[in-house]
């Protein structure tokens, strides 16, 4: 059986559920590293309910099916996870599979394996070819998109810097006796650090990385008595809240989280909101200021039944450079408050429009970016991450000889090439000759 591969089998985008599929050697073993259920003996072609550890101590309910070879689509051992819809969660699951020994499937690879294992008849081969081309084309289009987009240019820049560095190292290998200034290791590390930081930044810029890992940080602010704590409860609703007390902390920094459409949403600094003592609620603004800083988006809660107060105008000033959703609560009462920009009307009491608000949180923070580049391709993000890992490895090798360092940097270069399409070794050699005056 060939090595395990994984991919998201349902289309990227909206959908009630997502299916992550693995095929190949040891897929069940890989699956059971991250999926926990009561059943001890997993039988082929049965569905199991359990919890998937999407990140450390964060569990997501999901279903798992195992198909033992040869009774599967590909003819190999296959495991499928059915998870809640939403791309980010699915990506997180794919990522966990990758961490545990899978590699990303290439375009049409599941079908290709199915064909090679005799699961698909010869006359279907043409169809598979179509599939490979369609998927590659899709990839090509999205590559094109990112080439035009910011991320694409940034990856290209990053690879170019690396090409230059490699040329400089390689020329010192191939032309040790020429009269240019030979590169020294200190300079190599400085450059690698620079590239690595760029790359890391890229991973962060591509947002999904960041939000996948940490979720969206949401702060609830508003003057006293607008119903912050009831909004909080309505948001958490019946979903099992994940309550954490972050390092060393006072109750003030309590964070409560839930998943919506597969994205983790962290309501930060909720201790203050939960405090029923009026005196504390009055401390509202100063307390809020700190949480505002940490938030990716702020829910500014208003009372529909009252006019805008001076205090609220003050708060609005503090929110100037932030992503804000104006949440107009208590629409079960008569609305007196004037229309606000980008507002969402809800009633925490009657649990009205709560889902709408959740959608807004995700779409305001993530989806806009999604359309530009975040979700271009889960493979791309994995590539950046693997480049990051390799470079961090290199940075630890201060004592190692330059040939080994060059070998690892070449791997980084080849990784980035999977995104940019520049994989010709000749590029480096050409640069050697254009940059350095060499020869006999």
């Amino acid at each position: 059986m060939e090595n395990a591969i994984v991919s998201l089998s349902t289309p990227l985008g909206k959908g009630a559920i997502g299916i992550v599929r693995m095929s190949g050697k040891d897929v069940l073993k890989i699956a059971l590293k991250i999926f926990h259920c009561k059943e001890k003996n997993i039988k082929s072609r049965f569905m199991y309910f359990g919890k998937l550890e999407v990140e450390k101590n964060v569990f997501e309910e999901c279903l798992m099916v195992y198909f033992k070879t040869p009774f599967s689509y590909t003819g190999e051992d296959v495991v499928e996870f059915q998870i809640h819809g939403g791309v980010l969660l699915a990506q997180k699951v794919v990522e966990r599979c990758l961490e545990n020994g899978c590699r990303m499937a290439e375009a049409g690879e599941f079908s290709k394996r199915a064909f090679l294992n005799g699961k698909i008849t010869l006359d279907k081969a043409e169809a598979i070819i179509g599939e490979i081309n369609a998927e590659s084309e899709g990839e090509l289009n999205s590559s094109l998109k990112i080439t035009n987009g910011k991320l694409g240019r940034m990856v290209e820049d990053e690879q170019k810097t690396l090409t230059e560095l490699l040329a400089e190292i390689e020329v010192s290998f191939d032309y040790p006796e020429n009269d240019y200034e030979e590169i020294v290791k200190d300079k190599v590390f400085l450059k690698v650090k620079e590239i690595q930081e760029k790359n890391q930044n890229l991973i962060e810029v591509s947002n999904s990385g960041k939000y996948l890992k940490n979720g969206i940080n949401v702060a609830l602010v508003g003057r006293a008595n607008v119903g912050k704590s009831s909004v909080l409860n309505a948001l958490l609703g019946e979903e099992r809240a994940i309550v954490t007390n972050i390092e060393g902390t006072t109750r003030d920094s309590l964070t409560e989280s839930f998943f919506h459409n597969g994205v983790k949403i962290n309501l930060i600094d909720t201790a203050g909101i939960r405090e029923t003592n009026d005196a504390v609620e009055k401390l509202g603004i100063e307390k809020s200021l700190e949480s505002i800083k940490k938030a990716d988006i702020v829910l500014f809660i208003h009372d529909a039944s009252e006019k805008e107060s001076e205090e609220e105008k003050e708060i609005a000033k503090k929110l100037k450079n932030k992503k804000v959703i104006n949440v107009v609560n208590k629409i079960d009462k008569k609305r007196i408050l004037a229309k606000l920009k980008d507002e969402v009307e809800i009633s925490a009491l009657e649990e009205k429009n709560i889902n709408l608000l959740k959608n807004r949180i995700v779409s305001d923070v993530v989806s806009i970016d999604l359309n530009t580049f975040v979700l271009t391709n889960e493979r791309h993000i994995q590539i950046l991450k693997s480049a990051d890992k390799l470079m961090k490895e290199v940075l630890l090798l201060k004592e190692e000889s330059l040939d080994v360092i060059a070998m690892l940097l070449k791997k980084v270069w080849a990784e980035l090439g999977k995104i940019t399409g520049n994989t010709e070794n000749e590029d480096i050699i050409s640069l050697i000759f254009s940059k350095f005056c060499l020869g006999k």
Partner: protein, 619 residues
Amino acid sequence: MERFDAIVIGAGHAGCESALALARTGNKTLLLTISLDAVAFLACNPSIGGTSKGQLVSEVDALGGEMGVNADKTAIQIRMLNRGKGPAVQSLRAQADKNLYHQEMKKTIEKEKNLYLRQGEAVDISLDKEDKIVTTSVGLKYVARALVFATGVYMESEIIIGKTREKTGPNGFKNSHGLSKSLEKLGVKLVRFKTGTPVRLHARSVDFSKMEVQKGDDEISTFSYLTKKPIENKAKCYLTYTTLETHEIIRNNLDKAPAISGEIVGIGPRYCPSIETKIVRFADKDRHQLFLEPEALDTQEMYLQGFSTSMPSEIQKEMVESVIGLEKAEIMRDAYAIEYDCIVPTQLNPTLELKTIKGLFFAGQINGTSGYEEAAAQGIIAGINANLYLKGKDLLVLKRNEAYIGVLIDDIVTKGTNEPYRMMTSRAEYRLLLRQDNADLRLTEIGRKVRLVNDERYQIFLEKKKKLKEIEKVLNVKVKLDARLVKFYEAHDENPPMESVRYRDMLKRVGITIFDIKSEFKILEEYDYNLLEKMNIQIKYEGYIKQQEEDIEKALANEKVKIPDDFDYDSVKGIRMEAIEKLKEIKPLNLGQASRISGVSPADISVLSILVKRNKHGN
């Protein structure tokens, strides 16, 4: 018409290796050369080896070739390049005595019992079924089933010095006229390439006191695994520089430089530009370095490396005299550019056999490469394969992970080349495995299998393997943790271990070498430097070597999927036209080679893999 088993045309570095490989594997072989005085002639620089080329020489040697032996015999200075940069990129470079090199190789060839060395110019090739018939300029005809073309830069060559163009070969030897046409008649596509060589100066006219001396290494290695006597460093080289005046002279005379004025149409190498090209392209550099190398011990001629030019003779003189230390230099030979015909190498299989004519092989500069070592590397493969062809056996292809030779041949036959191709370490993706020190471990078994490695070489090889095993055993012994061990670690700036350790574990520390262990613990004293160094590298770089081996494992999967000879690319749906054209031209032997063709995408390969497998299922 005299019959041979095999004929080799050209007795340069490729031809000599081919002919020797053929004769040594029991074939009656004719080695035809335009001049007996040009056998294994070092037409350009008087040196063998250099980065990645040193590896090529040792690989030729490990397979049972002659270049390493001959270079060791005639070396007058030797150095290991890149010592501080890690084992993957270290290479040997020797100054060779040009006259001795030629004489010694000629002697070796004359001694070979199945080998017939004959002066004569081949002017025509014709085919009669499997037979190849070679006709010489004086009307003699030779026939054989296998033919190796190793004509170097001689085909329709022209020497250019300023306005003067002469239809001769290098160094005033006769050129070869007629073969190009004959090849074209056989359907072989040709291109015109260019290269050049610098001036030769009389040593008595050089002011060495103004130059920096370059000496050989103290710790001496050899190219060949057979060489027992160490190389003596008998010669010195010198480093000097051009001046602003040199650049001024060149700039003022650019209109007379054929390379720049467009009179030379042949494509020259980027890595070996003439001095005028350097000055045009790197205008901001105020000096360029030049090396003076002795051509041989019995001559006063010196080679001025870095000063290749095709300027008129009188300007060359002015240019030379503007260089530091060369104010009164006497030029003995002019620098010149040379244009010549070579074949488009993508017409060859990785066996170096022409795709369209069985039993016809090409090796050396005629394939668009440059360099003695590149030529010899192809020569030995062409020779080995011509023999295997004659014996009706499967031909040999060295893989990219086995040898620089494999990289070199795969590159030229898969990607082709737009300029004379030079080997570089940067071209090898698995260079931590393709080291100077382990060529025999990589290739001697292969050389033995094709019967080129004789008993003497094989015994030496087995002996060495045995010794390496012994060394490994010694290194597996544990040393208990005591004050001495702690002191040893501290003396080498390493944190002492927490428990007893094996010697090999100590080697994993950057600060500790096998030689440190040897002198501290009084072990391994009966083993020589090279063996210990090899083991030192093997253990220290174990982890990285393993990484490369894993990469190779992945790459080999595609290499194993053969594409049938008669695969019908025209009936293929789902592969882009551009890729199909390329695939039809190159006719890759397997998916791995196909994936290295520029312009063929991973998706194309994916589709191709399905079609190839479908074909195999008989549909």
